[in-house]
Symmetry: C2
Amino acid sequence: MADESLFDFLHMEIVSHIYREQQSSKEEMDHKDRAVCVSVLESMGFRVGQGLIERLTRDSPSFKDELDVMKFVCKDFWTKVFKRQIDNLRTNHQGTYVLQDNTFSLLTQLSNGKQYLDQAPKYLAFSCGIVRGALSNLGLDSVVTAEVSVMPSCEC
Amino acid sequence: MADESLFDFLHMEIVSHIYREQQSSKEEMDHKDRAVCVSVLESMGFRVGQGLIERLTRDSPSFKDELDVMKFVCKDFWTKVFKRQIDNLRTNHQGTYVLQDNTFSLLTQLSNGKQYLDQAPKYLAFSCGIVRGALSNLGLDSVVTAEVSVMPSCEC
């Protein structure tokens, strides 16, 4: 529906705006330019994630451990932000968590399969930031990265 | 709720990003710099508005006249984007329309009253673009401006 599209469209505009402004002075973007764009998007996401989790957890009881926090992120947080729950949560019980979303909403507008796989990182940076921001406000410092092997599924 | 906040937070991030990048090389922004920022935000909104209205009108019958289009924008479109209907629509029947929203969602985060009135334009540019984009895709070329006399109400 259109209210979800609002965020999707706005997100696409930001991605293209940030890539365009970085590229404006050059003919082609190198690895470093792309890293700057990803980092700008990621830090935008970080602040949005912080804001969102603050509202979402206003009436929640405190969490009993890290896993409890991760479950909340996979279920409640993911549903609010990306309109669905995480499909699969795995952990090595040593602080590494893998969240798998098989139909990641920000990738569904891209062609399925492997054709545009190299374009995926720019559409994931903001979301990684959102997750890192949310975890940070819940007291967990983290490194969040995303991997896509086949669109529109995503692991982070 | 958080799903609305997602758009609000993202919108705030974009506004501050665009103002920051414009200001980066200077000590203070002049009138021209501010106009550039407003124009960047407005054209982002334009494209988002085009995308949204395309989805929203997919199953709608065609509109019989300009007023019919404006009513759709005030009711269905406004509700989808800003979560409420327009409070008041006035027209001079010569192509000028005034839409009044007494609790405009993108201004409710700012302090009520007149204290931050000078900050309002930057939070309205994107929305003006959204409306202009929507109207443009419905076949109406328009000029959309916004006015705020007391927060959080807005006329455009």
